[in-house]
Point group: C2
Chain length 129, copies 2
């Protein structure tokens, strides 16, 4: 059966991502790892990130510019508060909201509801706007 192998590349990507406090694109991550002296391919970074998303270790977020950004995340269900200047991200939950949205969807005849909730703003470290 198909099983995953552990390689230094995957470990490196996981570590690099873990050092971030916000979402990063695969390209950015790759560029910085190469700049830092680690020699790995862009393809590999994409693969490592995809694996992490599948295993639930990370969250992916596709922005309106079409670029997908990644971030290490907790396992529990949560949402994000993202600084659109520096990318800093805070996880949060919304008590009661889950139920409200589900009820609303059901009232319109929708089943198997899931949702996407993201808040954007400028964090306290990034002045002005």
């Amino acid at each position: 059966m198909t099983q995953k192998r552990s390689t230094w590349q995957k470990v490196a990507v996981r570590e690099e991502l873990g050092e971030r406090t916000g979402f990063v694109s695969a390209q950015q991550l790759h560029a910085e790892m190469v700049a830092a002296g680690q020699k790995l391919g862009l393809t590999t970074v994409y693969r490592a990130l995809t694996d992490m998303v599948e295993s639930g270790e990370a969250d992916a977020l596709t922005g309106s510019d079409g670029e997908t950004r990644y971030r290490i995340c907790g396992l529990e269900h949560h949402h994000h508060l993202i600084c659109n200047v520096c990318g800093k991200t805070v996880e949060f939950e919304l008590p009661g909201f889950e139920a409200a949205t589900k009820a609303l969807a059901l009232s319109h005849g929708f089943q198997e509801v899931s949702h996407s909730i993201e808040l954007f703003g400028t964090c306290s470290d990034c002045p002005r706007g």
Copy 2:
């Protein structure tokens, strides 16, 4: 001064989009218009849709597959409940939620908060899951 002109192409795009009950991609829309006998360029469809989004006539939504989809929308602030099978979309508001998210963001030191909220599910016309 630079003013917009009304052309049959723009009108055609607006009408075609108006006939839909859900989000459609520029490519889909273009393909179907061409198939229906209307001869216009893909570039033009993109431009028309972009204009409509800027003027507030339509909403754009970039999916996780990187494709942007469009839909005619009401002017007031609202969110979407989208069928991920047929694409049917329902607009809705979330009383009280706006304030709650803003307060939450502010409590984390974030300013100029905006949000993205979309609900996905399977509508009553699309059985199974």
